[in-house]
Structures are given as C-alpha cells and as structure tokens.
Subunit: 314 residues, 2 copies
C-alpha cells in the first residue's frame, strides 16, 4: 500500500484526566500519551494513532484530530468507559502524584495494526505495557526508526519484557528518575552508559523544568527547557516533547542505516530535534490538557525555537 | 598605590567543615567561601582575601595560598577558634543541610581594608552579613565591577540591609530557592525581573546539578552543569563558580561603564564567564573540601570547558 512519507505510527493512551496543580484544577479533560504525542508530532509529520477509547469519548475530538491529518482509523471505540487518570502536582511541578487510575477499556487493549499502519516508517511506542509495545513491533514491517517511552511501573513490574523491547528500539525517552531505576545507577553518565548497552543507541533523559539531556553514539547534548512565565499544568510535557522530537526526525527523513553511517550528522539533527521537543513541551505546560497545542501555530514554534537557541548560544 | 591589573578583592569566610555526603565523610577539613572563591579565581586573576581565622587555622594553608599569589595580608589571625560548619547532603546533592554552625572568631569579624585592598578593581562579597558587605563597599575606592552572593538566612533576617547592598552591586549570584525567596515569586522569569530592579543588572541563578541561568540586560543564557562521574561533595560549588566567573571577567578587564555601552559584547563575555564557573564547580564537587582544586591545572580547565561548549553546541 502507498505510504505517506514522514508518517509516524504511535500507540498510546487516549484518556480523561482530572488534574490539580498550584495554578488550578481541571476535571475530566482530554489527555493521554497518544493524544499529546500525535498533536505535537502533527506539526512536523503525518501521524497515525493506535489506541482504544470508550463510548464516552467525544467524537468531536476524533473529528478534530482527523482534520489535522491525524489518522484515527486505529483508534478502536469499544463499549465501556475511557481510561481515566487522576493526578496532582505540588509546588515542585517536576513530578506528578497519581491519585487514581481507572484503566477501563484500556485494560483489554490489544493493538491491531491495519495494512497501512504496518508499513509506517516511524514508530513511537508511548508509555504502555512493554508486552503491548512488542506486539506492535511484531506487526510493523521494517520501520526506519523506532522510539519508545516507559515508566517506573513497567521498569519495576516487567523488567525482562521491557528489556526485550529495548533491544529493538533506536531512541529511548525517560525521565531522570526512571533512568536511574532502569540502570540501577544514581549518576546520569553511568546510567546512560548502561542503558545505551541495552539497545537504544540514543537516550533522551527528560529533566522537567531543567530540560533534557541526550546521549548519542558520538556525544552528549544538554538542552535547556524553554522558561515560561506561568506553568499551568505539566501533564503531557514528556509526550509532546517526544512528539515534536520524532516529528522533526521524520520530517528530516532520518533512517537507522543512514544514522549509523553518518553519526556526526545524525547527532546534529538530533540536537535540533531535542530543542523542538523542549519548545513543544514549553507550550504544553502553559494550559491544562493540550489546549495550548490546539491553538498553537507553526510560526509560534519557530519563533520560540529561535529564542531558545539564543539562550544557549556561545 | 600601584595596583595589579585584574586583581579581585574578596571578603568571605575561612572555615573548618565537617561534612557527610552519600560518598563519605570528611571531618574538620578546610572550607569557607573565601577559600573556595579565591582558589578558583586565582586560575584567572590575582586575588586578595579579607577574612578572619582563629589560632587553630593551619599556617601552612595560608602559606599555600600565598604561593598561588593569593594575597592573604587581609586575613586576620585572632585568639580563639576558626568558624566551623557541620553539614550533610542526602541523595539530592543539590541542597546542604546545616547540622551546626559555630561562628567562633567570625562572630566579631569586622573587615578592615588596607590601602592596597581599597583600590581593588574587582570586588566579590561572598555570603556574609549584608551589613559587613556594605562596610567593605564603603572602604573601596571605585571598583570597576562588584559581585555578591547571599543566602536565605540574610534574605529573611536582614532584608533591608541586603537590599541596600544590592543597589551597589553589578552581579548577584544566588541559587534558585534564594531567588524565589528574595523576589517573593515562584517563577524564575518573574523572580529575575524583580531582582534585576533591585540593583544588579546581571543575575546568576545557580541550579546545582542542572547548571546556572543568567539574566543580563540583553538576554537570558542557560548554562548546563558539566556532568561528572562521581559527585563526592557539593560544598563550595557555588563559591568556586563565582570565583571562576569573576576571574574570567577580571582577566577580560571588564568594567561597568564599558559593559553599559557594550551590552551585547558584555553578554557574550558573561556567557563564557558562566561556563568557566560551571566548569570550576564541576571540579570542586569531585572531592571533599577544595582538594580537587588544589591539584587542578589550567589545561584541565581548558579541556573541560571545550567539552562543555560541545555539549551545548547547535
């Protein structure tokens, strides 16, 4: 089947979130890694989302995604309720506290890829059960580049399955605490060294308000977060970081083989991709849910990326 | 009196520290902001230290400082015991916990500048009582550039005196929590804006393992910390950051009037100065006390600074 260039397949959650932050409260707003990732990535590339929602999920939102050229044919609508996450943040906005998680229809989720999804050149496995992540990888033909995310829950609960997934992944994105947990190290350099040996040649360590650190085969890049005036809600910052980062790589047409034979050039493109991620995340946190991303335009992205580059220029 | 070019006068503490960190324990080792600052600055400029020690302070260390061309004629040796700080760090190495402070001879400290000190072109007021900081400023003739540090204790305890000092300061160096406390803001941009209005046109906000953020009249610079394999003891990182930063500015011969008329060039030089500070701090934390700085050579500094620049290159 004919495949759009630069197309990214992602598998992740579509959810309702109820969130309390120092800036206020939002009840039953739209969320989920699949949403944040795909909206962010859609500024750069076409996106296909695979996921599951209940009958209570607003059709208008699926419609809105479609209008952005996000392919929602992989989102199953099944009887029952949509995944619901309740969380809060205290003054330290870098860490979410989960108050409750109702998996609902997500509990029986078994990603089934259609013929179009199977030929996706770029794949992003959002933070879900590593067994499901592998099941997705088993169904895709021969992606050019695979990235993935995970979290403490899987690192602790399914370490072997996660490590099996990691062997098939090019880029892993984790926050600092997760990287320490996965590696058993408390130092970021030693943690990165161990994790890169598990499979992903590129490791992105997210550090909340401090930005991100990237380890590639040729070097280390330390990207600052773009400082914003008011952080309303950090939810989805990591997924929208990954969305912009993958979108940037897909737009550049990177593939694994080229990356291996051009490690220095790959490193340079990755640096820009990481900054794109930091910029996207900075917009995400300016409002609840992905409301800021929904009214964001590309020229705002470009302007902020230029400003961020100035902030690290020597 | 003839004055060396690039000479920096600093007033601060010379102390014994007893420290516990996750890496180990050090009892009654040499410390104090005056020590850390002047050793770090001496890689770039000549330094004059004003401070006080008790009769228990090792003469061999004063001798060692002198051999590094650090002028110790402003260090009074008085009857009694040297200032003693007892502190510890848990896994979060970014914040020290003070277990006890014995001011000892420091309690009666009244800085008296000799004729040589009075004509110092560069002044760094380390973290001491803002009343003493002002007393030093009252005694210097017309410095080219004045920088200062402070802490929660003075921000809360002597806010008016501190604000009076700040009106006479060009560069203020604080950590993030202190900047929030001083400004009454919880956001770094709003905090910086308020603090810059208090006097210092340049504000450096230290962020521990995440580096430093600098606000100048023309922009924002976000400098990463240099990541090291093992952090042994973070004590003195901030003072050695300030030492290298001021040393770099003194070596460059910057003065306030030139800075005002060349804001863009000043900003560029400051960025390099901040990186020099980050690099120096990264050596400091590799061992207890300033032991790593005592065996550091300039070529190690240059090499690490180059590596750090690569880590933020776009």
């Amino acid at each position: 089947m004919a495949q759009q260039p630069f197309s990214i397949l992602t598998v992740g959650s579509l959810a309702f979130d109820s969130i309390q932050t120092p800036a206020g409260k939002a009840d039953l707003v739209l969320g989920g890694s699949g949403n944040y990732f795909s909206i962010a990535a859609s500024f750069y590339a076409s996106v296909e989302v695979v996921g599951v929602v209940g009958e209570d999920f607003p059709k208008s939102h699926l419609q809105w995604l479609s209008e952005r050229k996000i392919d929602v044919s992989g989102i199953q609508v099944v009887p029952g309720k949509t995944f619901h996450w309740v969380g809060s943040y205290d003054q330290d906005l870098n860490e979410a506290k989960t108050l409750s998680t109702a998996l609902n229809v997500f509990e029986q989720f078994n990603p089934q890829l259609n013929s179009k999804h199977r030929v996706a050149p770029y794949v992003f496995l959002a933070n879900i059960d590593p067994v499901l992540q592998m099941r997705v990888l088993d169904q895709v033909d021969s992606p050019r580049l695979v990235a993935c995310d995970s979290m403490n829950f899987w690192i602790t609960g399914k370490p072997n399955e996660l490590k099996e997934t990691l062997r098939r992944v090019d880029i892993l994105s984790l926050n600092q605490g997760e990287a320490f947990l996965l590696s058993g190290e408390k130092n970021i350099l030693r943690a990165a060294e161990k994790i890169q040996k598990m499979g992903p040649s590129v490791l992105m360590i997210k550090r909340g308000e401090y930005g991100a650190m990237m380890f590639t085969p040729t070097g280390v890049f330390i990207a600052p977060a773009f400082p914003v005036n008011t952080v309303v809600d950090p939810t989805g910052a990591g997924d929208s970081f990954a969305g912009a980062m993958m979108g940037y790589l897909a737009e550049a047409g990177i593939d694994r083989e080229w990356a291996k034979s051009h490690p220095e050039k790959f490193d340079q493109i990755l640096r820009r991709a990481v900054l794109a991620g930091c910029v996207m995340a900075s917009f995400t946190v300016e409002d609840f849910s992905f409301q800021r991303l929904m009214r964001l335009n590309k020229s705002e992205l470009v302007t902020r990326q230029k400003t961020l580059v100035q902030m690290l220029q020597i």
